[in-house]
């Protein structure tokens, strides 16, 4: 049911994007793209506008100017209205998972299917069970979000984001509030999904360990210049000469003695 054509290799393209709250410009001159099946990390220190950028890419914040193309289609129309058909072609995992608290896990995954698919009720249920099993939550279908641990909530959030078989998944701080073990489990899950389903990931995070283990490319947002540094391969971040601000950001990772 995806509207994205499979030939187009650049699945997400952001050009000349400028974001602002009223008169206050948060970010400007943003240009980057992601190829199909790749994982892009958007990183930066707190308050640099990571979440604002994500909000505009998932259709929650109207950009001031510029363009966001998903599968070659603009997310925001000419009069800056949201193109809902394009919006439905991606899944989002929110920082706090944002599961609908009045519904069970199964109902959470079923809702997008019930709303947007023409499948029979049996097929929808099978699909929902399958998506929950993909993230390792078989047997927890009848639980409510309040009965889950932080890590399980994140995984349930991923299952719901996967419900409509999107081509691209946006993750907001996937490792926030998780212990190192659950963080690693989540990273492994993301790698599994990327390799097996061929999904494209855009991950907003400041967890360097996680960024270096799962992402192919990275974009660094600078709080001082209110724009982005050049898009680089994650593996080049540590080897190449980098900007002092990025270097300071990566310092803690370097000091851990882990190589990318």
């Amino acid at each position: 049911m995806s509207i994205i054509s499979s030939e187009d290799s650049e699945i997400l393209k952001v050009s000349e994007l400028e974001l602002s709250y009223g008169q206050h410009v948060v970010l400007r001159d943003l240009n980057f793209s992601v190829k199909r099946g790749e994982c892009l990390a958007i990183m930066g220190s707190s308050g640099c506008g990571k979440s604002t950028l994500l909000k505009s890419m998932i259709g929650l914040l109207r950009p001031h100017s510029g363009e966001i193309l998903i599968g070659g289609m603009p997310l925001w129309g000419r009069r800056q209205e949201l193109n809902t058909a394009v919006a439905r072609s991606f899944g989002v995992l929110f920082q706090g998972s944002a599961l609908w608290s009045s519904m069970t896990l199964l109902e959470n995954v079923l809702l997008p299917l019930e709303t947007f698919s023409k499948l029979s009720s049996r097929e929808r249920r099978d699909l929902a069970y399958y998506k929950l099993s993909l993230v390792g939550l078989s047997g927890s279908e009848s639980l409510y979000p309040s009965q889950l641990s932080g890590g399980m909530k994140k995984r349930a959030g991923i299952a719901r984001a996967l419900a409509l078989d999107p081509q691209i998944l946006f993750f907001d701080e996937p490792s926030a509030g998780l212990d190192p073990v659950n963080c690693q489990i989540l990273d492994e899950l993301i790698i599994d999904l990327k390799n097996n389903l061929g999904l494209t990931f855009v991950i907003v995070s400041h967890d360097l360990q996680s960024i270096f283990s799962i992402s192919d490319h990275a974009v660094f947002l600078s709080a001082s210049s209110k724009t982005m540094m050049e898009q680089r391969k994650t593996s080049d971040l540590l080897s190449q000469d980098v900007d002092p601000e990025l270097s300071a950001f990566l310092k803690s990772y370097r000091s851990m003695g882990v190589s990318g």
Binding site: Q95, L99, S101
Partner: protein, 400 residues
């Protein structure tokens, strides 16, 4: 080598009487004294400089001591060896430093113990410069202005969207789920029966008591039945149910939708392309619009039964007599339906206001509290105003 700080502290230790000599007696006291019999004057802090200290340090006194110094360029700050301190002393010293910034007397903090001087320098280092402060966007930048015009436009936008999605519902294109609607009907209808029963029964009972005392003067106590019946069906039934709905259901709508907004649940609906108004507001408002008149009809009956209890048990009428009198008071169905039309409007108001306050709540938990309070207050105010408008309209068109 003996630390200079220790020598000075020991030297002054004997001079400050009544502060540290008797530790037991003076526990909890803090003192600051100015010692001037040296080349450079010195401010000596002693005693218990803690947040939990029962005695508060007098900053003004200390400040005036320093200003009273004459013919000197600097003043050393010392700490007595027995001085017990925490961040309250640090704050005191920082304030002193700040106040004396423009004075001719320079304060010398070098004799302080290393731990304290480190804390002082740490706080100075982390202070933003004036330039930095100017660069940071002020709180005003992100303030959502709540001028009457903005609120009016927001309300108009909300009501307009509700209307559009209602029209989509009629055309069968809505995202609203029947199950959500039925659950809302149960929550605001059947679950409210106990409280509606209690309140309307007691309202009918009270009116019967009050009315009978007055009507007894004219020897017309049987007209208590007319009074209770007409007051319930025309006025008290709809109004009482609306107030219960505002306090119970309207508040719960605001709290539920507001916390969904705080948990990004509304955002996750929006990213799926499911409008929150369609999916969440419509079932709630429609359930309330359907349930309020039904509860009102029920409240009318229970209120009349309350009057009947007083009529039969206190005034000694037979049940049949009371009912016949009640029946004669209701000249037409209009007496009942006029109240039901009102309650329909009240249900609409309570539902719209509760959901509006929930969806447009701020992003903090305190704003959620304000949203719930304001949902109840605004609903009840609007209900009373609408009630008055209905009565004026009924009278104007000769329907009363």
């Amino acid at each position: 080598m003996i630390d200079r700080y220790d020598i000075v502290a020991k030297y002054f230790y004997g001079m400050t009487t009544g502060v540290a000599k008797d530790k037991q007696r003076n526990f909890g006291k803090c003192s600051v004294s100015l010692v001037q019999n040296r080349e450079i004057p010195c401010l000596l802090f002693a005693g218990f400089w803690k947040n939990s200290s029962p005695q508060k340090a007098n900053f003004e006194k200390c400040y005036s001591l320093l200003l009273g110094l004459q013919d000197c360029e600097s003043c050393e700050i010392h700490l007595s060896t027995d001085c017990d301190w925490d961040s309250s002393l640090v704050v005191f010293l920082l304030r002193l430093k700040d106040e004396m910034k423009d004075s001719e007397i320079k304060l010398d903090f070098t004799s302080l113990p290393p731990k304290l001087s480190n804390l002082l320098s740490l706080s100075c280092r982390n202070k933003p410069s004036d330039q930095q402060q100017n660069q940071n966007p002020g709180a005003d930048t992100f303030k959502i202005h709540s001028s009457p015009l903005v609120v009016f436009l927001q309300v108009a936008d909300y009501l307009g969207k509700c209307l559009i999605y209602f029209q989509r519902l009629l055309r069968g294109k809505s995202f609203m789920r029947l199950r959500d609607f039925l659950v809302c009907c149960r929550d605001c209808g059947a679950s409210a029966l106990p409280i509606v029963t209690l309140i309307s029964y007691l309202t009918g009972l009270t009116m019967a008591f009050v009315g009978s005392v007055q009507l007894e003067k004219f020897n017309a106590t049987i007209y208590t039945a007319d009074l209770v019946c007409l007051a319930m069906v025309r006025e008290m039934g709809p109004l009482m149910v609306a107030i219960v709905m505002a306090g119970r259901t309207g508040a719960s709508f605001a709290a539920e939708l507001g916390s969904m907004k705080l948990n990004e649940e509304l955002d996750s609906l929006r990213t799926l392309g499911i409008p929150a108004i369609d999916f969440l507001v419509l079932p709630r408002v429609l359930a309330l619009v359907l349930m309020t008149p039904m509860l009102t009809l029920y409240a009318d009956i229970v209120g009349i039964l309350g009057g009947l209890t007083v009529g039969t048990q206190i005034m000694g009428f037979s049940s049949l007599h009371y009912f016949e009198q009640t029946q004669s008071a209701l000249l037409s169905m209009w007496e009942i339906s006029s109240g039901l039309w009102k309650s329909l409007a009240f249900g609409l108001i309570v539902g719209f206001v509760g959901c509006y306050k929930g969806i447009y709540t701020g992003s903090s938990s305190s704003s959620l509290g304000r949203a719930v309070t304001s949902a109840v207050v605004v609903s009840i105010t609007l209900v009373v105003i609408t009630d008055a408008l209905f009565e004026i309209a009924y009278s104007y068109f000769g329907l009363r």
